[in-house]
């Protein structure tokens, strides 16, 4: 029952969270650009695989991720 949220306005689309998510639940939004001109990260966990391991949040250079559990 864990999940993460993004502060999408701050996201720079660097993909570091996605690269490090052990469950590969994060991807880059190919559709949308945020106000900074970046394609932000999005979280998709239809199967509820997120363990709240916090790795994405630890690794995000821009402190965009909050982790809930």
């Amino acid at each position: 029952m864990a999940y993460i949220t993004f502060d999408t306005d701050k996201c720079k689309g660097c993909g570091v969270c996605a690269d490090n998510c052990p469950q590969t639940l994060i991807s880059m939004d190919e559709e949308r650009m945020n106000a900074l001109g970046y394609r932000p990260a999005v979280f998709a966990d239809p199967e509820g695989r997120c363990k709240g391991c916090k790795i994405c949040a630890e690794m995000c250079p821009d402190i965009c991720i909050e982790v809930y559990k």
Partner: protein
């Protein structure tokens, strides 16, 4: 004649490059010209802009607080610079990222061109600003498209010459958009 144009967008969109190309073309046509970038801000903001002035006479300031025209490729840039364009001036804006309303004024000769979409159609997203330049040249007639192509050709080093056709296509696509409204 005297023209000045402010060009602005995100970093990486090729803003400085199209400004440079415009100035070079003007020089080759025998005009006075200056190109002035907003330079190394000692900070990373992800924005880029430059000002090009073209004139028959010796040019004073290469910077202008109130440009006669603008080529705008990003929404933040539109919000920042659209208000500065002189009434009745020319605005070429990237409709892929913004709507005419975003300019906040309707006293300009505006061209909203979906440059990114058109570029993607051409097969290279990075030619969006070249498309915008084509549109600007067509709209203002400040230089000829032929001279712009020649200038571009002269600056491409041998091993990047293969990029010429797509960029020429982009310039023309911009021109055609203005001519045909699509």
């Amino acid at each position: 004649m005297y023209y000045d144009v402010m060009m602005a967008g995100f970093g990486g969109q090729g803003i400085l490059m199209i400004g440079d190309l415009l100035a070079l073309t003007a020089m080759n046509e025998g005009r006075h010209t200056t190109w002035m970038p907003a330079y190394g801000v000692e900070m990373r903001g992800g924005t880029a802009n430059c000002t090009v002035v073209i004139s028959d006479k010796r040019i004073g300031s290469p910077i202008t607080a109130r440009p006669h025209s603008a080529v705008i490729m990003s929404k933040p840039a539109l919000q920042k610079f659209a208000p500065r364009v002189r009434p009745g001036g020319v605005l070429v804006a990237n409709a892929s990222f913004m709507k005419p309303e975003d300019a906040g004024r309707d006293d300009l000769q505006s061209v909203f061109i979906p440059a990114v979409d058109l570029a993607t159609e051409l097969g290279n997203e990075r030619t969006a600003s070249m498309i915008a330049l084509g549109a600007y040249i067509e709209k203002t007639g400040v230089v000829t498209l032929e001279d712009a192509v020649a200038a571009l050709d002269s600056t491409l080093p041998e091993k990047r010459k293969k990029l010429l056709p797509i960029n020429v296509a982009a310039l023309e696509r911009g021109r055609d958009f203005v001519r045909n409204g699509k």
